[in-house]
């Protein structure tokens, strides 16, 4: 892998017009990655999901070079119907389209950040990989007091032109005082056996609101990792919803720093998995100052030989009095070979707090099925009804009604 990395890196650097300093910084990250490799189960954060093994087993040898000089045709058929929205389109890792047609042009700024910086505080070799190989990183700035009229959908599309490739993406969002952004990440893959490595950074100023919905619905054999860092100032609100279902492997990480008083974070997730899929959500909510709040709800329905992992951590600093932290994970195992692992963690250094977590896993309740069948439903219908109700609970947590309906339609949940 080492030679491949070196070779691909040299190719990438050749195609980009980077300053000598930038190349050196990138080189440093590459060396870091080479010495550490992909994370494996020996690392505590990857205990339940050995990425090194997963890549070896599902992809084999990866190549890290992508030709970003030629454009890809944007297939408009993938666009979401019935919901007016702004778009950013990634095809095979290349930004093809940025379109804020519905917004006032002077309220949104798109900044090209070619300079290599590392703003994430994360002890993670995938970050090294990402920093070494991202070709372009954009920052989207929502100016003070502006609320986007329409949601922004980021299309992550891959097609069959790529094979056994590693794609690295990075986006930066800054939401200024009194502004808000609704964001949907929509994954749409017709490719197979690639590894997507995505880093997002969100910076929420006073009173800012971020709603981020990640939808991985369509069947594909790709391996994905998405890391989201959210920094929050006074009174800001972040809401993250994850629908984790389509990919072969998907790990979503949410790292939320509640730095300002009265800031709050909500993380909700659904795992709906079948056939051998393996998905994970890892959330870390850092309560760093007083009067902050966090709420997390993750529900899983596991069929086939699938495996879901939830690692959630609530950290409370000694200054963070009056913290309210809550976390609940529930799983239904439908097949004897499905597996649910959880590590709900509390790390607390302040005394005047209310923190709790709960985790439960088990089979569908036979009594409930009996009840429904005795009222005339067949087994299949009763089962569907129960699972529907179980998942609806999480979907109902979505605060934006337009997007809630969109997601309900996508997963086919009926009310």
């Amino acid at each position: 892998m080492k030679e491949q990395l070196q070779k691909d890196f040299d190719n990438i650097v050749k195609n980009l017009s980077l300053s000598q300093k930038d190349i050196e910084i990138k080189k440093l990250y590459l060396d870091n990655f080479i010495s550490r490799g992909f994370p494996n189960r020996k690392e505590e954060d990857w205990k339940f999901s050995d990425l090194n093994q997963i890549i070896k087993k599902n992809i084999g040898e990866l190549s890290f070079y992508s030709d970003y000089t030629s454009t890809n045709k944007v297939d408009t058929s993938v666009f979401v119907d019935g919901l007016e929205h702004n778009k950013i389109v990634f095809i095979n890792g290349r930004i093809e389209k940025i379109d804020f047609d519905y917004e006032e042009k002077n309220q949104i700024e798109i900044i090209d950040q070619s300079e290599t910086t590392n703003r994430f505080n994360n002890n993670n070799s995938l970050l090294d990989l990402n920093t070494a190989f991202t070709n372009k990183s954009f920052k989207i700035l929502v100016k003070q007091g502006y609320q986007l009229k329409k949601p922004l959908i980021i299309y992550h599309t891959t097609n069959s032109n790529i094979w056994s490739k590693n794609i690295n993406l990075r986006l930066d969002f800054e939401i200024e005082k009194n502004s808000s952004l609704r964001l949907i990440d929509l994954f749409n893959d017709t490719s197979e056996k690639n590894f997507l490595n995505i880093f997002y950074n969100f910076n929420l100023k006073e009173n800012a609101i971020l709603k981020n919905y990640k939808v991985d619905k369509f069947e594909n054999r790709n391996i994905k990792y998405s890391f989201n860092n959210i920094d929050q100032e006074k009174n800001s609100i972040s809401e993250t919803f994850i629908l984790s279902s389509g990919s072969k492997f998907f790990k979503n990480e949410i790292n939320c720093n509640l730095r300002g008083k009265y800031s709050s974070a909500f993380v909700n997730g659904i795992f709906s998995l079948n056939n051998n899929k393996h998905h994970e959500i890892r959330s870390i909510i850092n309560h760093l100052t007083e009067n902050t709040k966090s709420y997390q709800l993750v529900k899983s329905v596991l069929e086939g030989d699938s495996k879901a992992v939830y690692q959630g951590k609530i950290f409370v600093n000694s200054d963070a009095q009056k913290t309210d932290g809550y976390q609940l994970s529930k799983a239904i195992l439908l097949n004897e070979n499905s597996e649910f692992n959880a590590k709900p963690e509390l790390e607390i250094y302040a005394d005047d707090v209310k923190c709790s977590h709960g985790s439960a896993s088990g089979s569908l309740n036979e009594d409930s099925i009996f009840y429904l069948m005795s009222r005339g439903l067949n087994y299949q219908q009763s089962r569907e009804l129960l699972i529907n109700g179980f998942l609806l609970d999480v979907v109902e947590k979505i605060t934006d009604s337009e997007i809630k309906n969109l997601i309900k339609n996508m997963i086919g949940i009926k009310e």
Binding site: E44, F340, N341, L346, D352
Partner: protein, 480 residues
């Protein structure tokens, strides 16, 4: 009221902190094959036992000290420890209590565990372990009548080699983790109990561990085997003198329950916790593991952890037999600069196995407490159940309370439920109690006892009273 105040004053400092001035036989400092041969030799052990130790030592040399735990400690120099220390008077085994060094008798009397016939605690058979040797075991004749073997493990190695050989290392093998393997190589004494088929042990069995010598590591080994259909309740207590240095205590406890047998293991751990500034105290790095080997067997751990500078232990149950049950009840209290990283592991292998975990943690002062637990239901453990509840109480904002559970469910017919909360004593509760005439300290005591009640109820009567007092004392000075 006055009496109670006096009692509290008496107990305010660590009342077991005295040391006994006694002449010792010690092994030379250091850890090597010669020391292990020395220990084996002085215990007049058969050859297989020495081989067991040397095999463990071979393995130990390849192991690295773990460092994933939350409480960090300065590096221990394993070559700078004494691995064997025993009162000189024990060199020739005293035949009866009359021959026992009066100083030893006095020590145990002071600790509240009188060994003499007339003063013995009723209904509790005690094995008293002093540094590296067991000095006396009471009620042995009575127990022999029922066919129960209860003696120091060094005696069992000589008198019941077939039992020891069969079960020693069967739950904690010599190839286990760093401290367990160290113990397998250098363990000195401990208790052995065997309850024969169908016997319900008529009294509580108990071991009292006392560290006296300085610069010594205490490594005892306890092995309890409950044969088919038997029942035993076992208690463990421990204290040590107040010293400025940190002392290492790395014990191994193995429990084996065969078909329909039940073992109840209770610990009141009160090692010296160090002074107010965190100087001194015991490092309590203990491996406790129970194997529910037979069908319908049950192992229940109850622990009250108030002492030690650092507590690092996870009493575990391996539920191999079908329908077996594992339970874990724990109260852990840390004050001043104490640190604890404790919890349990429930490993479900058999069908219809059940486990229950109730853990209560209280931290005050500058202390730090972690509950770390594992519930693992394997794919073959159909129709198994686990229920876990971990509650933490924080007093002050200089201390920490953490919960790190690992939950693995590989069986769709099995259910796991886990709950955890962290909070402080609410002002409303305090106000209510104070309004009714209790002082702030009394009110906290009352609330804390209520918080711990679920676990305290699991302790045998004699221990429950002591434990309740201990809970109060450990939190002394943490309010206000």
């Amino acid at each position: 009221m006055d009496n109670r105040q006096k009692e509290i004053d008496n107990l305010k400092d660590y009342k077991y902190g005295f040391s006994t001035d006694i002449e010792n036989t010690t092994a030379p400092k250091g850890l090597n094959e010669d020391i292990i041969k020395f220990i084996s030799n002085i215990k007049k052990e058969p050859k297989w036992m020495l081989e067991f130790r040397l095999k463990a030592f071979e393995r130990f040399k390849q192991l690295k000290e773990p460092d994933w735990q939350k409480p960090k400690y300065p590096k221990i120099d394993y070559q700078d420890l004494y691995y064997y220390s025993a009162p000189k008077s024990m060199d020739d085994k005293p035949k009866s209590l009359d021959e026992l060094d009066p100083k030893l008798l006095e020590t145990y009397k002071k600790l509240g565990i009188p060994l003499q016939e007339q003063a013995r605690l009723n209904g509790i058979a005690v094995d008293a372990v002093f540094d590296s040797v067991s000095v006396a075991t009471t009620f042995r004749e009575e127990l022999t009548k029922h066919g129960i073997i209860f003696c120091p493990i060094s005696e069992a190695i000589q008198n019941h080699p077939e039992l020891v050989k069969k079960y020693l290392g069967s739950v904690i093998p010599t190839t286990d983790h760093f401290f367990a393997t160290l113990n397998s190589a250098v363990f000195t004494d401990g208790s052995f109990a065997y309850i024969p088929e169908g016997v319900r042990c008529p009294m509580e069995l108990s071991t009292y561990f006392r560290i006296n010598a300085s610069n010594t590591g205490q490594f005892e080994r306890t092995l309890i085997v409950a044969d088919k259909g038997s029942y035993v309740s076992y208690l463990e207590g421990c204290t040590a003198p107040m010293r400025d240095e940190n002392q290492l205590h790395a014990a191994n406890v193995e429990l084996i329950a065969l078909d329909n047998a039940e073992i109840k293991y209770s610990t009141v751990q009160n090692w010296y916790p160090g002074d107010k500034d965190g100087k001194g105290g015991i490092y309590n790095f203990v491996t406790k593991r129970g194997l529910c080997k037979g069908k319908n067997s049950k192992i229940s751990w109850t622990q009250v952890e108030t002492g030690s500078a650092i507590t690092w232990k996870y009493p575990s149950c391996i539920l191999r037999g079908d329908n077996s049950v594992g339970e874990f009840y724990s109260i852990a209290i840390t004050n001043n600069h104490q640190k604890a990283d404790t919890g349990t592991k429930m490993i479900h292998l058999g069908k219809n196995t059940k486990s229950k975990i109730i853990s209560k943690g209280i931290s005050a002062g500058f202390s730090d407490m972690t509950y770390r637990g594992l519930v693992d239901i394997s794919s073959k453990a159909t129709n198994s159940n686990n229920y876990t509840q971990c509650d933490s109480l924080l007093m002050g904002n200089k201390c920490g309370a953490h919960t790190i559970p690992y939950i693995k469910n590989k069986n769709s017919e099995s259910n796991i439920a886990h709950e955890a909360t962290t909070s402080k004593i609410s002002d409303e509760q305090l106000h209510y109690c104070q309004q009714r005439g209790l002082s702030a300290e009394e009110a906290v005591g009352l609330i804390v006892n209520g918080f711990c009640k679920e676990v305290l109820q699991q302790l045998p009567m004699e221990f429950a009273v002591e434990a309740q007092k201990l809970v109060g004392i450990s939190l002394e000075g943490s309010v206000g």
